[in-house]
């Protein structure tokens, strides 16, 4: 788009201000993690590295592992349910099809307290089960379905159904078509959706506080419970910095996934060879 010099300048200034707004709090936090004093004052009186080893040795490590566990389980459920729903909506016509997207979006579009209270009430009052890591996973999976669904359905809509029809015409049955045609084409969409779902679950705190059992701690829950303890503050700051650094990994992975997709969107994946009714895979090595 052709813009005048003045508008380009203004636009750049707005972007710079926006990015400063995004990054200043993260930088301030990083500096506080090296704060030699336990009292949070600006500027910090001195710098130290002592909080990092203490952070790694603290109970935060167990909480981190719990978060990974919960995130992986919730992502696995969301991948299955989200893919099934998107296949139904993208490849079939049926009554109420339009409402599926609404239904899937609801758990994330309704405020976290609503989902939290509703599930808490159902778990404790209706089923009479104790809150635990399992209830956290169920709750997380519920609002993670939407990101898998959206990613996969976008892919299915771009991918012509004629590939699948061709596969069926060549004698592949429903499973073979899914395994050798549909699934390989959805791979990067599943990766992106799964990554987002994991990220959502890993960071979630509000629904978690309503569904977590006594004695269990996810990492956000650990930060939340230690936040108000003055003694723990420097360690919380150090944990926070570690979390921000770890968060670069999924961003990098997501970036890789999307650039891979740009290079080899079409044609890839159909590596099944249909022969006399049975499908035999060629070299199954994944590039």
């Amino acid at each position: 788009m052709r813009l005048s010099r003045r508008s380009t300048f203004l636009l750049r200034a707005a972007v710079a201000v926006g990015l400063a707004f995004i990054y200043i709090p993260l930088i301030v936090l990083a500096i506080y993690a090296f704060n030699a004093s336990k009292i949070l004052e600006w500027p910090p009186p001195g710098l130290t590295l002592e909080w990092f080893p203490k952070a790694i040795e603290s109970t935060a490590r167990d909480a981190f592992l719990t978060s990974i566990k919960a995130g992986l389980a919730a992502t696995a459920i969301a991948l299955v349910l989200g893919t099934l729903a998107s296949l139904a909506v993208a490849r079939h016509r049926f009554f109420g099809r339009e409402t599926i997207s609404f239904l899937v979006i609801l758990p994330i579009a309704l405020p976290g307290i609503v989902t939290g209270v509703a599930l808490n009430n159902t778990f404790t009052q209706v089923f009479g089960i104790d809150l635990s890591l399992f209830t956290v996973i169920v709750a997380h999976a519920t609002f993670c379905i939407v990101v898998v669904y959206n990613n996969v359905i976008a892919r299915l809509r771009r991918m012509s159904a004629s590939f699948e029809e061709a596969s069926a015409d060549l004698g592949a049955d429903t499973w073979q078509t899914f395994r050798y045609v549909t699934l390989p084409n959805m791979r990067s969409a599943l990766g992106a959706g799964g990554l987002l779902a994991f990220g959502l679950s890993f960071d979630e705190i509000i629904v978690t506080t309503f569904t977590i059992g006594a004695g269990e701690q996810t990492l956000p829950y650990w930060i939340f419970t230690n936040l108000f303890r003055a003694q723990q503050r420097p360690i919380v700051n150090a944990v926070a910095v570690i979390v921000v650094l770890i968060s670069i990994v999924p961003v990098y992975l997501a970036h890789r996934l999307t650039s891979e997709e740009g290079g080899a969107a079409a044609g890839r994946g159909v590596r099944g060879r249909v022969e006399g009714g049975g499908v035999e895979t060629e070299a199954t090595a994944v590039p």
Partner: protein, 296 residues
């Protein structure tokens, strides 16, 4: 041999099921939808329905036990007590302000990323916007808590000018929420702007429209559904948050009251949770009409 026969047997059973599914697409749809719909309709909508019912239960004042019979007590308290009216209004007003603020900050960033920046700058900016989205929500809220504290960096920076920061309170909640949900607004708008073909913009320019007019008459209407999509997140997330208000204010928001009542007076918590449900379902219905769902 026996195992081989079993494999053949199993495969043919799978094949028979596949044939059945192929011949009867309705059955296939049913099989595909059973899991997701079971989870979301029975599990999730069912929970919401029970919550709706629980809002009409009450708690016996003498024993503290749940009384599972119809009572309008909670709804009456909600409407009659000015405290709760204030809390609901405060929450909705802050959520609206956060949404507007984010739209204003996010649009130039998204526009620059999508239509002005070079490929390289664009890639860098996408990552720059994504990193804070992935870093923990609590970490960011925590950082603001220290920045806004009386000995924090904001007061330190403003002191030479003879000013002081907002401290903890409603302004702080508005500021921090706007910060927290900004990436949720940038990304849908960016994706929406990317979808607008450059040829449309060139056509407008070739027909003599000044940049501002092109922006107002071509780009803005096409990007609007994406802005609405982003606003679903900023609005809903603000409406349901109770942790940020606890960190940077002493004020009560809907979420705080729900959380405080969950173990002592579940029916009242449920009744109050109906407010954001009603607000959000209305918001979503309008958003869908505006085409926002394509952009989430």
């Amino acid at each position: 041999m026996a195992t081989e026969a079993a494999v053949v047997e199993r495969r043919s059973a799978g094949r028979r099921l596949a044939d059945l599914l192929h011949r009867r697409p309705r059955l296939q749809v049913g099989a595909l939808l059973a899991g997701p719909l079971g989870w979301l309709v029975i599990g999730y909508l069912g929970s919401l329905a029970i919550l709706l019912i629980a809002a009409f239960w009450s708690v016996s004042p003498s024993s503290g036990e749940l009384v599972r019979s119809l009572s309008f007590e909670n709804i009456e308290t909600l409407i009659d007590e000015p405290v709760y009216r204030t809390i609901v209004v405060r929450t909705v007003v802050i959520a609206s302000l956060v949404t507007i603020t984010d739209a204003i900050i996010a649009f130039p960033i998204a526009f620059f990323m999508a239509k002005v920046a070079s490929r390289r700058t664009k890639a860098i900016l996408v990552v720059a916007v994504l990193i804070p989205l992935w870093s923990s929500y609590l970490v960011k809220a925590l950082s603001w808590r220290t920045m806004l504290s009386s000995g924090g960096i904001i007061n330190w920076a403003l002191e030479p000018l003879g000013l002081s920061g907002p401290g903890y309170g409603n302004t702080a909640v508005w500021l921090v929420m706007s910060y927290l949900w900004l990436p949720y607004m940038v990304l849908p708008i960016f994706a929406g702007l990317e979808r607008i073909p450059n040829s449309l913009i060139s056509a407008s320019e070739d027909l003599g429209a000044k940049p501002f007019r092109t922006f107002r008459r071509v780009i803005l209407p096409l990007a609007f559904p994406a802005v609405v999509a982003g606003s679903i997140f900023t609005f809903a997330l603000t409406l349901g948050d109770y942790i940020t208000p606890r960190l940077v204010s002493n004020n009560q928001f809907i979420g705080n009251v729900v959380f405080n009542n969950i173990s002592t007076n579940l029916p009242f918590a449920a009744a109050l949770a109906l407010v954001p449900i009603v607000v959000m379902v209305g918001y979503l219905l309008v958003a869908r009409k505006l085409g926002a769902f394509e952009h989430i």
